[in-house]
């Protein structure tokens, strides 16, 4: 038996090294996700500034709408691509007592925030696994043990970089290619010198095409997740309530907001998923009544939504848009009461 244990341990150590080497190689040669590197940078930044951070932003990529340089406070975006409210709850729990100066938490609420459970939708399940691997949480989301285990396995073995959705096709192609590797995530937008500054953005036509595609995709994935998770709206709402209570119990102010989307995105989303938007609005209304939580809805702000220059793509503000949006949010918070710049 001792012989077996020795050999088994050697084998496990060997396979871990092999996974790490091949996973690192695959990630360098042909990365499948751009957001992972950004996320790692954010977490490193959070760690470095933990004693000074006064505000954080949580949520999916829409929460990147806030520009802390405009707010004039030490803040850090912890936006996690495609994050759902269950992941935000876990993330919030992992921050407990780690940010002594934390006073404000911004949480982005998208139209589909209450109809999203990444574990129930195969193309997004890997995001959940990556979430567990990056976030220092030691408890799985309810009924999600398998992704939790995979995530923690990934953290030590790089297993998800070995188990690639393209079955390594991208890696072989890149390795066989003599020419320099092109940017795997090229941004094919334009730059315009506008009244808001030098703005990178999609053209009107590109924005419309993007809006149509992404709105449809978001509605469709939300419906599939809701089908796979009965009672999803209620469960997601409960998760958000627990997150709010966790922060409020420590005297931290929680601010919910919906950033501005490009007008066509709003139109296409409402066309296909008006019920999803209604669900979101009703849930938020109930939360406002029960928890006195602040909520700012800028989704259709008329000064932003019609200007292509302010959008990186149809559901994400560009650099210029983020500044303008944050100014407007700041104005609304000041008008509401006690926000000190």
């Amino acid at each position: 038996m001792q012989k077996f244990i020795t050999k088994a341990l050697s084998f496990i150590i060997g396979i871990t090294i092999l996974f790490n080497l091949s996973g690192t190689l695959a990630d360098r040669v042909a990365p499948l996700d751009d957001w992972r590197t950004a996320q790692q940078d954010r977490m490193a930044n959070l760690q470095a500034k933990r004693d000074r951070i006064e505000a954080i932003t949580m949520g999916n990529s829409h929460s990147d709408a806030i520009d802390y340089s405009v707010l004039g406070i030490e803040g850090q975006s912890l936006a996690f691509a495609a994050a759902d409210l269950f992941e935000i709850e876990r993330y919030a729990a992992s921050l407990e007592n780690k940010l002594p100066q934390l006073k404000t938490v911004f949480i982005a609420i998208s139209y589909y925030s209450f109809t999203r459970d990444n574990a129930k939708f195969e193309p997004f399940r890997t995001r959940r696994v990556q979430f567990y691997s990056m976030v220092p949480t030691w408890f799985p989301i309810q009924k999600d043990l398998s992704n939790f285990l995979l995530g923690k396995l990934e953290a030590t073995t790089h297993i998800m970089s070995v188990v690639r959705s393209d079955s390594w096709q991208g890696v072989w192609t890149e390795l066989a290619n003599d020419s320099p590797t092109p940017d795997p995530f090229p941004y094919d937008g334009v730059r315009t010198d506008s009244v808001w500054g030098d703005c990178a953005h999609y053209t009107e036509e590109q924005l419309e095409t993007h809006a149509k595609e992404i709105a449809l995709r978001n509605v469709s994935s939300s419906r599939q997740m809701a089908d796979a998770h009965p009672g999803l709206v209620q469960d997601a709402s409960d998760a958000l309530v627990r997150t709010i209570e966790r922060f409020q119990s420590r005297g931290i102010r929680v601010i919910l907001f919906t950033p501005t989307y490009y007008q066509k995105y709003n139109v296409f989303f409402a066309e296909k998923g008006s019920d999803i938007i209604e669900d979101m609005q009703q849930t938020i209304y109930k939360l406002q009544q029960s928890y006195q939580v602040e909520y700012y809805d800028f989704s259709g702000d008329s000064e932003i939504t019609i200007h292509p220059e302010l959008f990186y793509n149809s559901d994400h503000l560009g650099e210029c848009g983020r500044k303008l949006f944050t100014e407007k949010l700041l104005g609304a918070m000041i008008a509401h009461g006690d926000f000190e710049k």
Binding site: F4, L18, S22, K143, L149, V162, V163, S167
Partner: protein, 491 residues
């Protein structure tokens, strides 16, 4: 609770934990651990269906001692009929859950009786077909005096629910598995290593081959009318290998997992696509089902026919037993026409095969083929007959199957976008072809009484470990990790 399937990450935790505890615990406590783990394994799917498993276990356990030869013969016969009827009734009730959900409330309502399952939508309990046959086998064996009734309720329950074979076999026979629970299994390096190797090979077949082939098969068979000719032929051949790799992959994992703990389960496959006739195919495919059907249906019918007034040379003796056996095999899979025709086709092929081999000797052969060519032709013909029958097995409806059969050779030109039919295109095809070649090479070695394991064992340690690492890397790099169901866990 998260479902513990063989191809889930939970199993990667569940199995080592159970195995470690199994070896740590003293022998007298082990059955409790294995039974608890097996029930947990089953309940991780849908906890409420444990009632069905428990009911089946109770029927077998309670009937056993009363069926032993020392009981009154008439009582025994009556009890045998009663217990088999209840077991088969339960199987039918759940297999035909659509019918049960629809008809039963109406019937009971008309009788003025309350429907005790109102509000509950019945589904098919995982592995019911397997533990039903195992319970029946136990009951019949005890009745015949071939096996002794098991007195220990826990051990008997474990015999039925032992987690490696619970959901998709191999169907364990009483005298092979039951005594093993009384044996003390100490950690055995050889068994642990060969068991793990077997499991890895099963994962390779399931994750790299079967789940990859499923992409093409599912797409074509979901809407066959969108395709003709070569695509339909390719999808059917792909299904032949998908179901083989899926089911034999499951068997490899089950047998390997049991072996790690020191148990021996019956082999379920023996290179079935190298069969030279349909009879030969059934000696190699789903062996535990075939031997069950042979022992409890084929032989009894044959014996009954010989005992009856039918002339022993009558063709009825040639036709009825194989047809009945294969129809029962089809019905065991489901009562849809597609399964019944699949079973009937195999029965028919068997009858023709036996008749051919009986009368072939009397025919004058115009020429003699070299042995290897004759063998190759027989393998080719048998494989294609099996594939033809698979069309009915896999098709979603009889009309789909009829369409596929009617359009196999219509418009047989190679579609220009053949490689793009499945996501990933030529790359996915290349992986699956290389993986199939590897699997076929291993099967070929076994067919020639060789063994890859023995060959590897003779190599220096660095080469052995390279092969092991290579296999693990191939599984992770090229496997499909969407935790797809094993095909036979649906039955």
């Amino acid at each position: 609770m998260n479902e513990v399937k063989f191809n889930s990450i939970q199993f990667l935790v569940f199995f080592p934990v159970v195995t470690t505890l199994f070896f740590i615990l003293p022998h007298r406590w082990r059955w409790i651990l294995l039974l608890g783990a097996s029930y947990l394994f089953y309940m991780s799917w849908k906890p409420e269906y444990i009632i069905v498993l428990l009911a089946m276990t109770a029927i077998g356990y309670l009937a056993g001692p009363r069926l032993a030869p020392d009981t009154h013969p008439a009582m025994r016969r009556l009890l045998l009929l009663f217990s088999l009827s209840v077991i088969l009734g339960l199987l039918f009730f759940f297999k035909e859950s659509d019918w049960s959900n629809r008809v039963l409330p109406t019937v009971l309502g008309q009788l003025g009786a309350p429907y005790f399952l109102s509000g509950i939508h019945l589904g098919l309990p995982l592995g019911i077909s397997f533990f039903t046959l195992q319970t029946m086998s136990y009951i019949i064996d005890v009745y015949r005096g071939v096996a002794r009734p098991e007195k220990h309720a826990g051990i008997y329950a474990l015999f039925i629910a032992f987690f490696p074979h619970l959901t998709a076999g191999p169907i364990a026979r009483t005298n092979l598995l039951l005594p093993q629970f009384y044996e003390s299994h100490e950690p055995d390096y050889e068994k642990i290593v060969t068991g793990l190797q077997r499991m890895a090979w099963g994962f390779f077949k399931k994750l790299v081959i079967a789940d990859r082939l499923a992409l093409l098969v599912n797409m074509v068979y979901a809407k066959p009318t969108a395709y003709t000719g070569l695509v339909l032929i390719l999808a059917t051949y792909a299904f032949a290998f998908q179901i083989y790799c899926d089911f034999s992959g499951y068997a490899d994992i089950a047998i390997g997992a049991a072996r790690v703990m020191g148990f021996q389960l019956q082999e379920n496959f023996q290179q079935p696509y190298y069969a030279q006739s349909i009879v030969d195919f059934w000696r190699r495919w789903h062996i535990s089902l075939y031997t069950w059907l042979r022992d409890y249906i084929f032989y009894p019918i044959t014996r009954a026919l010989y005992r009856s007034r039918i002339n022993s040379k009558s063709s009825l003796i040639l036709i009825i037993p194989p047809m009945a056996t294969m129809l029962a095999s089809g019905l065991w899979h489901g009562t849809h026409w597609t399964f019944i025709i699949w079973g009937a086709l195999h029965g028919l092929f068997m009858v023709i095969s036996v008749a051919w081999s009986k009368h072939n000797g009397g025919l004058r052969k115009p020429f003699t083929l070299p042995g290897w060519m004759a063998t190759g032709l027989k393998i080719f013909a048998t494989f294609n007959l099996v594939c033809f029958a698979w069309i009915f097995f896999r098709a979603n409806s009889l009309s789909d199957a009829v369409y596929i059969v009617g359009h196999l050779f219509v418009n047989s030109e190679i579609p220009s976008a053949l490689f793009d039919i499945v996501p990933g295109g030529w790359y996915e095809w290349m992986i699956v072809l290389l993986a199939l070649l590897l699997m076929e090479a291993v099967d070929w070695m076994r067919e020639k009484n060789g063994s890859l394991r023995t060959l590897i064992r003779r190599q220096p340690v660095w080469l052995r470990w390279s092969v092991y690492y290579g296999l693990v890397m191939v599984i992770f790099m090229f496997g499909k990790f969407e935790a797809n169901e094993f095909i036979y866990s649906r039955f």
